[in-house]
């Protein structure tokens, strides 16, 4: 015991050398472990950051339909002219005949178009002075069926999208909310008579008045 408590110089020197090496080895191991943990953490944080930023960016840039207005409207048939509360109308009493869906280059009768809205069409209207390339863009960007496109005098914006009981004023043909509006409201949940025809009606002429 006493012997080992005072070891000879050579052995002590050898042991401390070994200890030193061991310590150095441990320190090295610890260092590389820290580097590994640090690197992995950095990569994880980086990925989380990129994902977070992408999601945030996507959500904050997504067009919203917050500006869509909704209205309570009546839906009786009449052959008399109707005065509508909205421009263009989003519903209300209307002609017994509906407007055939499609692209119109001249204004259409409100009483016919409102009946098409009742059947689930989205009616896109534009100011008559909208540049031709914008009109072309509107024509190309809308689905082939259950859509009406027509010029309209006195709109509250360059382009207005309407569906039964709903309306959204748009900034132009490039407004990304148009696609969102069409996806939600074309044959959407607000439609009183979904699947009713958007063909076989009128190409623009009102039926004769009953009076």
């Amino acid at each position: 015991m006493s012997k080992s408590s005072r070891p000879q110089g050579g052995a002590r020197a050898g042991r401390s050398k070994v200890d030193e090496l061991r310590q150095a080895q441990r320190a090295k191991e610890r260092r590389s472990r820290f580097i590994l943990i640090g690197a992995v953490s950095a990569v994880v944080l980086l990925i989380a950051g990129i994902v977070g930023f992408t999601v945030y960016n996507d959500v904050s840039n997504r067009p919203t339909l917050d500006a869509v207005k909704t209205y309570e409207v009546t839906r009786d048939h009449t052959t008399d002219p109707v005065t509508y509360a909205q421009t263009p109308p989003v519903g209300g009493n209307h002609s017994p005949t509906w407007l055939n869906c499609g692209v119109y280059t001249e204004p259409v009768e409100n009483e016919l178009a409102v009946h098409a809205l009742e059947h689930g069409a989205v009616w896109v209207t534009y100011r008559p002075d909208l540049p031709a390339d914008q009109v072309e863009k509107l024509t190309e960007s809308i689905p082939d069926t259950y859509m009406v496109l027509s010029p309209y005098e006195g709109l509250p914006g360059p382009v207005v999208a309407s569906a039964w009981g709903t309306q959204l004023v748009l900034t132009g043909a490039d407004d990304r909310r148009l696609t969102e509006f069409i996806q939600k409201y074309r044959q959407g949940a607000q439609t009183p008579e979904p699947g009713a025809a958007c063909t076989g009606g009128s190409d623009g002429d009102l039926p004769p008045t009953s009076g």
Partner: protein
């Protein structure tokens, strides 16, 4: 003596250290194994939950179920329109009857598709172009170069039908409807293979069978009028 005690001592210490290190390594190894097992368990449970969730959740907005339910409604709507047009343009009972059959059956089928989308909580209008849901192996069901669905009549062809009467209208209708059915069969076969909802696959199969058989009938009627 000193020369022997020293190294001996060191040897012992080293041996002890080795044992300690081995034990530590052993513990560490078991610890790692436990962590790995736990991770595997968590991944397995989450994976199973995910599969169950995907299987029981409604079809996605981009899949064959929703794509077929949307596109076939549009496709059927044009068949109904053409059948009405020919009924208003001929007195021929055979053509008027087949048109009546097409109107009622296809309008009812379109209603089923509408109902599915409502139940799945999906819009009737998709965010992708027509036929984008069709896989590469169903080339006949792909959209045509102008972006339209297979078999759809063009606005010019519809105008031609609208302008005709009598046997001329019958011939145009039969030609257009044979083409329309051929496209419809290709779409229905794609849905039969790719849709995951049994009700969708069943209706798609029924449409493919009915329209395949009706093409024969329409062709016979067209031959008789040529």
């Amino acid at each position: 003596m000193t020369g022997t005690v020293g190294p001996d001592d060191v040897d012992h210490t080293e041996h002890r250290d080795d044992v300690v290190r081995e034990t530590a390594a052993h513990h560490r190894g078991r610890g790692r194994l436990a962590v790995a097992a736990l991770v595997a368990l968590v991944v397995g449970v989450l994976g199973t939950l995910w599969v169950v969730q995907v299987r029981s959740s409604p079809p996605s907005d981009f899949g064959a179920d929703a794509g077929f339910a949307r596109d076939m409604q549009t496709h059927h709507a044009q068949a109904v329109e053409m059948a009405f047009l020919v009924r208003d343009r001929t007195e021929d009972e055979e053509v008027r009857t087949v048109a009546y059959d097409i109107i009622t059956s296809q309008q009812q089928q379109a209603g089923q598709m509408f109902g599915w989308l409502v139940q799945w909580g999906l819009n009737q209008t998709g965010s992708r172009p027509p036929m984008a849901w069709v896989g590469g192996e169903h080339a006949a069901a792909h959209a045509r170069p102008d972006g339209s669905m297979p078999g759809m009549a063009t606005p010019e062809q519809l105008a031609e039908l609208k302008a005709a009467t009598g046997v001329e209208a019958e011939r145009i209708f039969l030609r257009l409807m044979i083409e329309h059915h051929a496209g419809g069969v290709a779409m229905a076969q794609a849905a039969q293979d790719d849709a995951r909802t049994p009700a969708v696959r069943t209706l798609a199969g029924a449409i493919a069978a009915a329209q395949t058989s009706e093409i024969q009938l329409l062709q016979q009627m067209l031959d008789a009028r040529s």
